[in-house]
């Protein structure tokens, strides 16, 4: 049987745009353009490389999966145009405001329904930036987690990789099925080719709602959430500082400032 890879990708507001909160204190997804989280491009890339190296007779099939609003289809299309085979979009109005615990529940159900040998995630989303979903998915699916890998390979039903931790570099090894996440050190993601973009238009995108996944509406969404945002305030802009042009004594002037602030 071919290697079934599911890549989890998130549709996020562009980080270079003016990101805000909506009135219900959820992320405002209207006023800023959305896109495939850049850090999930690395996940798609590694999945494509693993698929390329998979036993040629059996091959591999890559499904990209997202939980998100209608526009999240854009993220799926991008991943498909990079070379993934098919897509699953979990979309339901009741999902609005779902937190990490809820999202991991929905993703785990969708992954099980799709069928998998390997789940590939990014290291963190570029909006929530929690970096917790992959660990949660491994916990819920009851399979090993090999996360934050900067190098990854799959051979004979085993995934191995390098994890650059806070205090040490570790080599990891786990049996499939497993959940991995990859960092932005894992290798530049490819650009979709024109051919890839055209081909993506014909690739299947399956839509699932909460009913399809046997999830009750009250387990997810803003009301079902395990966490509550009570207040969101724009950080006051930093008060304008002093900027001086170096006329030959810039280093000394800076030292004077630092001494005045008691750093020296």
């Amino acid at each position: 049987m071919s290697l079934r890879i599911v890549v989890c990708v998130k549709y996020v507001p562009d980080a270079t745009g003016d990101r805000h909160f909506a009135e219900d204190l959820t992320t405002d997804r209207e006023s800023v353009d959305g896109l495939l989280s850049e850090l999930d491009e690395y996940a798609v890339e590694q999945a494509l490389q693993i698929a390329d190296e998979a036993d040629s007779e059996d091959g591999a099939e890559i499904t990209v999966l997202t939980v998100g609003p209608e526009d999240a289809k854009d993220a799926l299309r991008k991943a498909l145009s990079m070379g993934a085979d098919k897509a699953v979009h979990v979309e339901d109005d009741d999902l609005h405001g779902t937190d990490a615990l809820g999202t991991s529940h929905v993703l785990a159900k969708a992954i099980e329904k799709t069928g998998y040998d390997l789940v590939v995630c990014g290291m963190a989303s570029t909006d929530g930036t929690m970096g917790v979903l992959p660990a949660m998915l491994a916990e819920r699916l009851g399979v090993p987690q090999a996360t934050l890998l900067s190098e990854v390979s799959v051979e004979n039903g085993t995934v191995t990789g390098r994890r650059d931790g806070d205090a040490a570099t570790e080599q990891l090894s786990a049996q499939l099925p497993a959940v991995v996440s990859v960092t932005d050190q894992s290798g530049e993601a490819r650009y979709p080719s024109f051919k890839g973009i055209m081909a993506a238009k014909k690739k299947p995108v399956e839509s699932l709602d909460l009913d399809d996944l046997d999830i009750d509406a009250d387990e997810v969404g803003l009301d079902g959430a395990w966490t509550k945002v009570e207040d969101a305030a724009e950080r006051p802009p930093r008060s304008a500082g002093t900027v001086v042009k170096d006329e030959g004594d810039g280093g000394k002037q800076l030292a004077e400032y630092l001494a005045g602030q008691k750093f020296i």
């Binding site: 497993a178 395990w226 945002v229 305030a233 004594d249 810039g250 800076l254 020296i264």
Partner: protein, 320 residues
């Protein structure tokens, strides 16, 4: 008084600073009970007691080092079951967040990551988060289950508060998942002799403007004169000029020092995400239009190859 579990981050029993900060914050919520996994619990317990831990639950087993994350989750859950705490606090390291995440799923509790402050309220702890590259400050609460909260380094200054720090053995049974991911080798990061990047009071960072690995000693020289840690932008890291473990920003480390010195760094949003909450920000950049100048308390428009050596010399002279 309610008890609050604090997961201890340590290196062979030497408790790291973020844990002391956590104990300090935990005292706002209840009596801190520390969970120490791995060797040298006795040594750690002394420090933990000094910073307010009433009890230190300790367990040591080969599994903690031989397998990834899950054995530690099993142990933290054992502590949770034994204590029934009002909250569980974990340092916001990459591993800490994963441990916290799995515990939250297991005990059916909400999780908040990367808190920069905690306060008590009638409805449980309120966490302050700095989000969207520090452009917004949010206040959040866990509304279901026992709050599991990870806290960023440098969120508060550690304060001593003598408590018993009574060492107790924690008995841990490892589940089937514990041995799922084997750590087949581990190479500890070589010590640079400089302060830890995330814990340092001063950070001096270099970017693309440093223009080569050969020039980084210039940045290191300034850092050493100031007693600072060295950071780097992703551009400098990607170019291979400085190790990734020093990258500051969204996909590197978040730092929140008293003083951040950015040299040859433009100030892209992803870099700002990692340093914007620094108390004082100083930049040296030859482009007066560089966005980093929007953040600075003091900036020099100039060539870093002129300004940095002069600054380093002046710092050395003033320090005598």
């Amino acid at each position: 008084m309610a008890e609050v579990l604090v997961y201890v981050d340590h290196v062979d029993g030497a408790v790291r600073k973020p844990t002391l900060e956590l104990l300090t914050l935990a005292r706002k919520l209840g009596d801190p009970v520390a969970v120490h996994l791995g060797p040298n619990a006795e040594e750690a317990a002394k420090t933990l007691g000094e910073y307010g831990a009433t009890r230190v639950l300790a367990a040591d087993a080969a599994e903690f080092a031989d397998y990834l994350v899950v054995p530690k989750v099993d142990a933290l859950q054992a502590a949770y079951d034994a204590v029934s705490p009002a909250a569980v606090l974990v340092p916001s390291s990459a591993e800490g967040k994963e441990i916290a995440a799995r515990l939250a799923v297991r005990i059916g509790s909400g999780i908040i990551t990367d808190a920069v402050d905690l306060d008590a309220s009638d409805e449980g702890p309120v966490a302050t988060q700095s989000v969207f590259a520090a452009a917004f400050t949010t206040k959040s609460r866990v509304s279901k289950g026992t709050p599991v909260i990870t806290v960023k380094p440098n969120s508060t200054s550690p304060e001593t508060a003598s408590a018993a720090g009574a060492l107790e053995e924690l008995s841990v049974g490892f589940g089937e998942a514990a041995t799922g991911t084997k750590v087949t080798s581990r190479t500890p990061r070589e010590s640079t002799g400089r302060p830890e990047l995330t814990e340092a009071a001063i950070v001096v960072s270099g970017g693309r403007g440093v223009n080569g690995a050969d020039n980084f000693p210039l940045i290191e020289g300034l850092a050493d004169a100031l007693g600072a840690a060295v950071g780097a932008s992703r551009a400098a890291v990607d170019a291979g000029w400085y190790p990734h473990s020093h990258q500051v920003g969204q996909t590197g480390k978040t730092v929140s020092p008293q003083l951040y010195v950015a040299t040859g760094i433009s100030g892209a949003i992803q870099h700002r995400a990692g340093m914007q909450t620094s108390k004082t920000i100083v930049a040296i950049n030859k482009d007066s239009e560089a966005p980093i100048f929007d953040l600075v308390d003091y900036g020099i428009v100039g060539d870093l190859f002129e300004v940095v050596p002069q600054l380093t010399e002046e710092v050395k002279t003033r320090k005598g």
